[in-house]
Symmetry: C2
Subunit: 581 residues, 2 copies
């Protein structure tokens, strides 16, 4: 075993090339060990084993500095920088995050998790180095999939202005999460097919020097290539062709399925975690496919995460021109959706809450100023969503709901969600965003409203007195339990309200509540700052009504247990009762 | 006079080429007439006269659809689409906005004012056309300066996926607002110098067809070129080389000064509006130049608007490597600033509040999760700032202040602003944003704090009772007047507080206020929704204290008079007194 002896990057420099190959095999074994039990980013790490070894062989980390894009491919980097136990030993699996993390190691410079940021972040390291008169190598690693993102393209365009050492490794495995989309991928293909010699070259067109290596999984050739660019005095792109998922047959053959994996059986490749309930991804896809078949103007749009709304490869093919994956290009997606709506189409763009963060200006300028009736689905927008610090879904209410003209809806169950979605697609007055529920698929039997065009009308679910509970979206569930507990505790039935609209106040209803309510409680599945509850507090500010806002504290959480977060934020029913009564 | 007879685009199609040249001369005269009296975007419109004539000569607007990037170059388009009186007759100058506006004309499809959006918006029009089975031409017009923006690059990359008619006119005048920055401009130069034949071609590298026209101010050649691409069955870039400011010597010679102009004397080119007071642009530049000279690690960063903090050409040269203009690339700017701070530099990035909207995800992910001590200056963040619907500065408090780890400061005067800026540059703990005051430069003689590291400590300026006024940033001024009026009216001195920190509550101070205050008033220069006052309302929600929040209603304003907006939002002292007493 070589891997067991690697405690720092310099330990690999004494190994011979054959030994490095052996190390690579051991690293793949360690990846398979951890990922099969734990899940995680599979394809990106299996493809980067050799390149990571070569990077650490040639460069002197942490004096020389690596910035990994998304950093979902940094598992091997972690193994070589003192964190191998987190892959070898099950007891230590959770010692490390799934991304680079400066708190773990001096070899990591940024907490990263969104795509397309590495070049710009690394430009900053390089600029500071130059200001200080230092001389280390700065190396940004970026996958081909991330290149289509605006921030990456801005960074690559700017890089040539540095006029000093700067190395961009383009790790080209000819895949995004799904297949790539965008014209630049034709150029990458040309470059791969011409062994980097094609005269038309995106990177050169952006003012950068360029070298190509076809054998991106060959350690000696990678070392040789990196040696040549080490200590270079200007910015250069090193374009390497790697194989996503290399070394594990199912992953080599089914790249999209193996971008990220749940725990699986290493023999068969089959997931060991089964889920056979309903999920909103599948349900949304089924619903949209129905619309698509009935109306040629309906178009589903995603940005490199097609399955976030259930569009697996077969469904994408079935939808044809009525499905668009723009690649990692969320800004473009929103602007294009606005244009489609303007010209009479019915666009539905969906992505995760965390990635929607890239689109504030487009939501505001391209969409909402123009009041075009596009539908935006905000997914995993919840404390029940992804729980890495870079993928949190608890900030979209302040982000989206404070944009004028936007109608942001918070359905509380399956029937309400699809009624809202259907209304949104068919109406032609408002830009509408919908927060897809995230606490499981809750079905109800009663009828839901089909028309939401009379904006900001909250729905009274239980008419009571003294205490009114405004329970938004996902947290309606907590509201129901709280209402029951209040009745039990006080003998008085409280009022329970489903606000439905995040973007406006039902002033008439709120005014009426003053008559026989002294306490108003708000519940929302997101941070309190800038959110829904504070608007209610503002409304009642000058009155005698007491307002209690419940939601999440403004902070960056990381790999949390939901129960803990709910407790820390006083979101359990007994805690709320104790506060209020 | 030909222009007087043009009531719709088809009216120009009966003119001979010499007559079109005459029309161009008349249009320049009309531009000069209006701009010399009214101010506006000069260079972009003078450069686009011929191209606009040719576009309307060849294409059939509004069936064929033009989308102008930024649309600051759309004055000529307005003249040819029924709006000539707004340029010929002083009484009608204000009938039209400075940007395209669908409310003005069916020839305008979007309210646009930010850069880099036209290609994506037009992609949307084209996609909807294809879904509907229509056949019109879709034409996006984009200047070279806008090409560096992430949204534009995402759009250009995506465009080749359309596989149907789509025409991108790249209006290359070799200038952004100031000079261009970024590697792609080397490629544009190569293309211009090779008459479009250079093998390495940014647009082809993004999968697009391409034609070049050197004579971008020659009507017959433009017509000929546009005729050739009309009704094309795939996406194509038409790269035309135009002269910014063409036809007015001072503007041809001093392109940056004449990008946008104040009213001026047409003979001399000198501004007829003089301003000799202090302004924060100049003051900020002077301050930063002082820091730059003392400390090689300080670096000022802008994104294509260098003079927003006073960096005129001479100052940029003087600052050398310690000044960086990233071009239109705000996302990159924030990420780079984070990287600089991480590696020990002291970055200060400044842009307008409205353009900062492009950077939410970078502020959150690249900067604040990583807690790097960069300084962000948010300029014209105020109702006193720019008043076009696309350039409003009243949304940044909800946008920025709800990001965890961010320290967002609101100075109330010159001395406090520079004390905060100096503290921010020298500290190494927090990402800090500062809202540059915008209601004139107010100087005070008393000392201000120099250390702001004890976060969220509000400052009591007058200690009183019964009513407490929390007057944030620019609106501290209103707070002072209100305090005086309250004393006069009630005989009781109210408490006046300068909160200073937008991002957190001084809970101890707020708790103490409960003792001898029954009313708390908040004042903020921005929209109320998601803002500062609502956090105060939330704090006092469960208490007996009555809270009144004053600020701007959540809406898109356009070309407003400040006095009207203040009145409509109950922001005058008599109105507040009436509400509260």
């Amino acid at each position: 075993m070589y891997l067991e002896k690697i405690n720092q990057p310099s330990d690999i420099r004494s190994l011979r090339y054959e030994e490095l190959d052996q190390l690579a095999a051991e690293m793949r074994k360690a990846l398979l060990h951890k990922l099969s039990k734990n899940g995680g980013h599979f394809g990106p790490n299996f493809g980067m084993v050799e390149a990571t070894i070569a990077l650490h062989y040639v460069f002197n980390s942490p004096v020389d500095k690596f910035v990994f894009d998304v950093s979902h491919q940094s598992y091997c980097h972690k193994m070589l920088t003192g964190r191998k136990e987190s892959f070898l030993s099950e007891d230590h699996f959770h010692d490390v995050s799934g991304y680079t993390n400066p708190e773990e190691s001096e070899h990591d410079f940024f907490n990263v998790g969104h795509t397309s940021t590495s070049v710009s972040l690394a430009c900053g390291l390089a600029k500071a180095r130059d200001l200080k008169g230092d001389k280390e190598n700065i190396v940004a690693v970026i996958g081909d999939g991330s290149l289509s993102g605006g921030e990456a393209l801005e960074g690559i365009d700017f890089a040539s202005e540095l006029e000093s050492n700067f190395i961009i490794i383009v790790n080209d495995n000819d895949m995004s999460i799904a297949e790539n989309h965008g014209g630049l991928y034709k150029n990458l293909k040309e470059l791969r097919e011409s062994n980097g010699t094609a005269a038309c070259n995106l990177f050169k067109a952006m003012g950068l020097d360029y070298v190509y290596l076809e054998e991106g999984n060959d350690i000696p050739k990678l070392i040789d290539t990196f040696e040549k660019v080490k200590d270079i005095d200007h910015p250069i792109v090193v374009h390497i062709h790697t194989q996503k998922g290399k070394g594990y047959k199912p992953a080599e053959e089914h790249k999209e399925d193996w971008h990220w994996c749940m725990p699986f059986d290493t023999e068969t490749g089959k997931s060991t975690v089964s889920f056979d309930g309903e999920d909103y991804g599948q349900l949304t896809c089924d619903y949209l496919m129905g619309k698509i078949k009935k109306d040629p103007k309906v178009v589903a749009i995603v940005a490199a995460v097609p399955t976030n709304i259930g569009f697996t490869e077969d469904k994408r093919k079935e939808a044809g021109k009525q499905f668009v994956d723009v690649g990692i290009a969320e800004e473009h997606a929103i602007a294009m959706a606005s244009g489609i709506a303007k010209n009479g189409g019915k666009p539905v763009f969906a992505t995760h809450s965390s990635f929607m963060q890239r689109t504030y200006d487009q939501l505001s300028q391209d969409l909402c100023i123009n009041e075009n009736p596009a539908t935006i689905l905000v997914n995993t927008a919840s404390i029940y969503g992804m729980n890495d610090v870079t993928h949190l879904g608890i900030y979209d209410i302040p982000l989206i709901s404070n944009i004028p003209n936007m109608v942001y809806l918070a359905p509380t169950n399956k029937q309400e969600y699809f009624a809202m979605l259907d209304w949104s697609i068919e109406q032609d007055q408002y830009p509408v965003a919908i927060r897809i529920p995230c606490n499981g698929v809750i079905s109800i039997t009663e009828d839901v409203d089909t028309d939401y065009s009379d904006l900001n009308k909250y729905q009274i679910k239980i008419s009571g007195s003294n205490i009114a509970i405004l329970a938004l979206g996902d947290f309606f569930d907590i509201g129901e339990k709280l209402a029951k507990a209040v009745l039990e505790k006080t003998g008085v039935m409280p009022t329970l309200i489903n606000p439905r609209y995040i973007t406006g106040l039902d002033e008439e209803l709120l005014e009426n509540l003053k008559k026989d309510h002294t306490i108003v409680i708000t519940l929302e599945d997101g941070i309190l700052d800038g959110g829904f509850g504070e608007k209610i507090a503002r409304f009642y500010g000058p009155s005698d009504v007491k307002v209690y806002n419940y939601g999440i504290k403004k902070e960056f959480l990381d790999r949390y247990a939901i129960e803990d977060v709910l407790k820390e934020n006083h979101l359990t029913v007994p805690q709320i009762l104790e506060d209020v009564l």
